[in-house]
């Protein structure tokens, strides 16, 4: 079972993404900011990271920069933002994201992208 880490400070968003991913048989863990996300990734690396941008203590960019600097098997990361119009997208890729999605993400779109990034072509 592929493991996904959701890093987001909003409990409802974590739960929403969790239910979508668990229904598709992913194993999901949660962290509520970048520092906690990093701790969990260091304890046991994940196959994919789903990362919010605005979070207390360590935001999504900081999380990805730190994650990419670690001696860990590198896994794809999806950055999720509420900001459609600013230049966040560019910054997300610079920080190490593989994909940038704008909230709110529709369930089938999320699953399609997650599977693509994991090289999993099963429906």
């Amino acid at each position: 079972m592929k493991r996904v880490l959701i890093v987001d400070d909003a409990a409802t968003v974590r739960l929403y993404h969790r239910e979508i991913l668990e229904a598709a048989h992913f194993a999901v863990e949660e962290a509520m900011n970048g520092i906690e996300g990093l701790e969990k990734a260091l304890q046991s690396p994940f196959d994919l990271y789903l990362v919010d941008i605005n979070m207390p203590k360590l935001d999504g960019y900081g999380f990805l920069r730190e994650l990419r600097g670690q001696d860990l098997p590198q896994a794809p990361a999806i950055m999720i933002s509420t900001e459609a119009e600013s230049n966040d997208e560019q910054r997300a890729y610079v920080a190490g994201a593989n994909l940038y999605l704008v909230k709110p993400v529709k369930p089938d779109r999320l699953l399609t992208q997650v599977r693509l990034l994991l090289g999993d072509t099963h429906p």
């Binding site: 520092i35 906690e36 203590k57 360590l58």
Partner: protein, 302 residues
């Protein structure tokens, strides 16, 4: 408004026995439980899964009763909106086990001798002592454990001087720590030969030998007082276990900023098993070592 640090109600960490709540007739629904666990996780970092439902419900019922809140929703609003955060502190206390004994959370001491000290020594360019600060000292089990660990498990102790300073807000507990008298229960996880080497048998239990008692400096410190903490500098390692979890958000942030200036650049801080810097500060680097996750003040300031 300056942050205040009330001592946790069960501090010093004696063995804490939760009284069985009387039948209260208070019901906590599944939705209540979910709501509570998200809130508690956000505030403390402690996560309860559904298997802990009974444990959590019992304690919630006890506090609902004790505070006269009448129902879960009344109590939850108290937790969420109380400005001084006292009730959250009382509840956290009830949800966690506060006891101290020799070699508690030993994996961190192992990390100290296997990973932290070798890195510190490799970086060192002077011959000055390596400095370790233990806060809170509590009744002394932790600083003495570190002393014993260094003597028994770290070869570097023959080449380096090490200073251990243990501080607490409570002068009575400090007196107790200096005296170093412990129950059988407190020393039960120590290897028998350590017990023999470092303790004297007393009628009341075991007392730390004079050499060790002399080797740890005990001081009174209130973490919220700038005047108290100003002189605490140049530490290589700080142990602050199972303390910050009882602080409110502002006090916790202030304390970790104080530790930042107490540490040398590159110095390490070890928190308790269920604690994470993710609730306190963004100033530290997360470092993973084979036996523990530890936080580090960055070497160079960007």
């Amino acid at each position: 408004m300056s942050p205040t640090f009330a001592s946790p109600p069960t501090w010093p960490w004696g063995v804490y026995v939760t009284p069985e709540p009387a039948e209260t007739g208070i019901t906590i629904s599944e939705a209540d439980f979910q709501k509570f666990r998200e809130f508690f996780y956000r505030k403390t970092g402690i996560q309860f899964d559904s298997s802990k439902r009974y444990f959590v419900d019992k304690r919630l019922a006890e506090r609902i009763e004790a505070t006269g809140s009448g129902s879960f929703r009344g109590y939850f609003m108290l937790l969420r909106f109380q400005v001084n955060g006292e009730e959250l502190q009382a509840l956290t206390n009830l949800m966690t086990v506060n006891e101290t004994y020799f070699f508690r959370e030993e994996y961190q001491f192992q990390c100290l001798v296997d990973s932290l000290l070798p890195e510190i020594v490799a970086r060192k360019i002077d011959r000055r002592p390596i400095r370790i600060w233990v806060m809170p000292s509590s009744s002394g089990e932790e600083p003495y454990s570190i002393a014993i660990y260094l003597l028994e498990r770290w070869a570097g102790i023959h080449r380096w001087d090490v200073e251990i300073i243990a501080s607490d807000i409570d002068t009575r507990i400090l007196a107790q720590a200096r005296q170093g008298l412990y129950s059988h229960r407190s020393v039960q996880y120590l290897p028998a030969d350590y017990l023999q080497r470092y303790f004297k048998r007393r009628a009341e239990g075991y007392q730390i030998c004079d050499d060790l008692r002399q080797s740890v400096e005990f001081t009174r410190v209130n973490l919220s007082e700038r005047a108290d903490t100003r002189s605490y500098r140049d530490f290589d390692v700080i142990f602050c276990r199972n303390l910050l979890i009882y602080f409110d958000d502002v006090s916790r942030k202030t304390a970790t900023e104080t530790f930042y200036d107490a540490l040398k650049p590159g110095g390490f801080i070890c928190l308790g098993h269920s604690e994470s810097m993710s609730r306190s500060s963004s100033l530290y680097k997360v470092r993973k070592f084979p036996s523990a996750i530890v936080y580090q003040r960055p070497l160079e300031v960007s």
